[in-house]
């Protein structure tokens, strides 16, 4: 199970956005996995099993700390706003910014800056790979709420990364990158 630790750590970090809390969560995940090892099916996906334990533990702790606040009905507007961002990125010359190799720290910062309710959904769906229905069930909210939180979270992340590309002057290196010449 320990070979999956970097993935579990990355997932825990994206759920908690706090290194100390994430490390505690990873440790608790492995302890719970150890205690529940009798329930693990040898043929099943160990990484997925650990992710599910990690998420359960995170949500259990958070429910204890606070009641979740729900809202919904904005998914389509958020999807439209993402399209607007694409247009802005294209105009600014940042259309290929997600291919930029140095983007990783900016992504980590943008994830950390996301409000809890958006970051949790983005982590569950984009990193753990849950479906909208599975995330809705885990959080006990309607699928519509999952969609609006997810789309907003993604839009805010995209916005932060487009801003980063502009502020860091990434455009010249990501725009009109010439195709590699075939070797002779």
């Amino acid at each position: 199970m320990l070979p999956h630790l970097p993935d579990v750590a990355r997932y825990a970090r994206s759920l908690t956005r706090d290194r100390e809390a994430a490390d505690d969560l990873v440790q608790e995940t492995y302890l719970r996995a150890f205690r529940g090892r009798a329930t693990y099916q040898v043929a099943s996906d160990a990484r997925r099993w650990l992710f599910a334990i990690c998420r359960h533990e995170f949500l259990r702790t958070r429910r204890r700390d606070q009641r979740m606040v729900g809202y919904g009905g904005e998914a389509e507007l958020e999807a439209l706003a993402s399209a607007g961002l694409h247009v802005a990125a294209k105009r600014g010359g940042y259309e290929r910014l997600f291919a930029e190799p140095d983007l990783a720290p900016a992504i980590a910062r943008a994830m950390e800056a996301l409000p809890d309710i958006h970051r949790t959904i983005v982590a569950m769906i984009d990193i753990e790979g849950l479906s909208y229905g599975e995330a809705a069930e885990a959080l006990d909210v309607p699928v519509g709420t999952v969609r609006s939180r997810l789309f907003r979270g993604r839009r805010v992340l995209q916005e932060a990364l487009v801003d980063h590309a502009r502020d860091a002057g990434l455009a010249p290196s990501v725009q009109h990158r010439p195709p590699e010449r075939p070797s002779a």
């Binding site: 440790q27 259309e95 290929r96 997600f98 720290p105 789309f151 990364l161």
Partner: protein, 84 residues
């Protein structure tokens, strides 16, 4: 009767559902057919697809992982010891 083709606005509204495979098969196929003929929507979907691929790899420093691995090993050893 063949349903009318969907327009760009519908595609943009359903773009994340499309990329996440959350659309019913028939609707997913309508979006795919639209993308095959519409350069603007196709570029937008590719922009968002590359975004999703990138955020799936949020980095964690290798040094931090090594320290955490040791910590978890220690906790598991203590747990095993308590079980004896």
């Amino acid at each position: 009767m063949t349903p009318p083709p969907i327009d760009c606005l519908h595609v943009v509204h359903q773009m994340w559902d499309y990329l996440d495979n959350e659309l019913p098969a028939e609707r997913w196929e309508e979006v795919r057919a639209h993308l095959a003929t519409c350069t603007g929507c196709r570029e937008h979907v590719e922009f968002c697809r590359s975004f999703l691929e990138r955020i799936r790899d949020v980095p964690v420093e290798e040094l931090e992982v090594a320290a955490l691995r040791e910590r978890v090993r220690g906790a598991l050893r203590a747990e095993q010891f308590e079980e004896r």
